[in-house]
Amino acid sequence: MRRHLLESADLDRADATLVLDTAAQIESALAGREVKKLPTLRGRTVVNLFFEDSTRTRISFELAAKRLSADVINFSAKGSSVSKGESLKDTALTLEAMGADGIVVRHGSSGAPHRLATWVAGSVVNAGDGTHEHPTQALLDAYTIRQRLGRLEGVRVVITGDVLHSRVARSNVWLLHTLGAEVTLVAPPTLLPVGVGSWPVTVSYDLDAVLPQADVVMMLRVQGERMNASFFPSAREYSRRYGLDATRMAKLADDAIVMHPGPMNRGMEIAADVADSPRSTIVEQVGNGVSVRMAVLYLLLGGPA
């Protein structure tokens, strides 16, 4: 395992599989236990450094770190020295001086975790950077797929939505490809990056055409305000062409599943009855997130400093 987890693009198959296997062992070791705590990271300090609000991701990392007995410090940019103009580098050096063994960073700027990793001795975990990557989300998605379908090799995954602005999409494209899945991206051309042709994916503009072959449909959050920049004409038209409703869901194979990284825009990219259907893994994804993040923290922080 490497020292940092910055992007799923640089995880090889062995690394990624080790994370998933470790998460599965942790989950089964903790299943049914009253004491859901392990002493593994006792005396280690994990800083949750969140420059963007993301309660769900922060809580998931916090729980993961605490279940491994790490000391957890939540450092939110709002109301801190950062909002008073302190630079990322100065913040990093401060955390370093405080002896942070691991820094879990969420930042609005792509590549901020990479920069951070050059300034600190501890391990850096990317908890989402700009429109770049969100590798633990992809790992928990892969974990969820493997848990539900029993495999990743050859699984056909359709990722639909605002790929252009989605760090979840990027992380999933690389990780799923590494793990042998076949990824199809579906979006209006305006929401696909120029350069998507170099990705190991199939691209389609037609959701209805690809659904019948899909094993997994992953819906990405689409922000309504995108239409102000003419990425699409209206929320209604987007929803009609690219939203997943019950009619579209009926085209899926019997055992196909529906995923969403959350938070959902019900009625926009996903209909309420789809989100709440038995195909939906949305709640499982949240629980799996803790196991996967425990695995990542164990593998990065458990060994020699």
Binding site: Q25, A29, V35, L68
Partner: protein, 211 residues
Amino acid sequence: MAPPSTLPTGVPAEGPETTSSTPTATAGGVQQLLSADDVTRVVDRIAHQLIERAASSTSSGDGLSDLVLVGIPTRGAPLARRLAARIEAFTGTAVDVGTVDITLYRDDLRTRGVRALEDTRLPDAGIDGRLVVLVDDVLFSGRSVRAALDGLRDVGRPRAVQLAVLVDRGHRELPIKADFVGKNVPTSRTQQVRVRLAEVDGEDGVSVTDA
């Protein structure tokens, strides 16, 4: 599988065997301590001791329903399963078996690095109020056993915890003592004791290697 007819199958003497059969010296400073047959014989003996101990520790019945054999991966896990199989062969009673991976409880991760985790599986009936016998291949510093005790504490409260090992090679670093020992082997600290089990290594045997 019936015990080999050439070996005694009766109740063995109390306590661990302390004299060793003459080790078979081979090339490269490797000494064969137990052959495959020896391993089978030792497992059988520990199984008998467990049966006896279970019976003596309960006021009613054979006490076997009270017993849980918990193996410490990697080789403690198949050892526990073998012991359970032998007990069932000798008594006709199935014994609960589990494994507890101790990696996340180890105190040497920082020096030896992280490693892949192994299975933790406990019987559905749990371990609360029962007699748990931890099973491992080699008892050395005692740190693995300490980690296993910590792990057990988080999953329940057994009535008592005992320890069975195939080989005790000495050099304890913690106040831990085995209740059932297949073979005591005097070693130097730098020697390596290697236990091979068919389930993991393709064959049975125990050897010691000079460092």
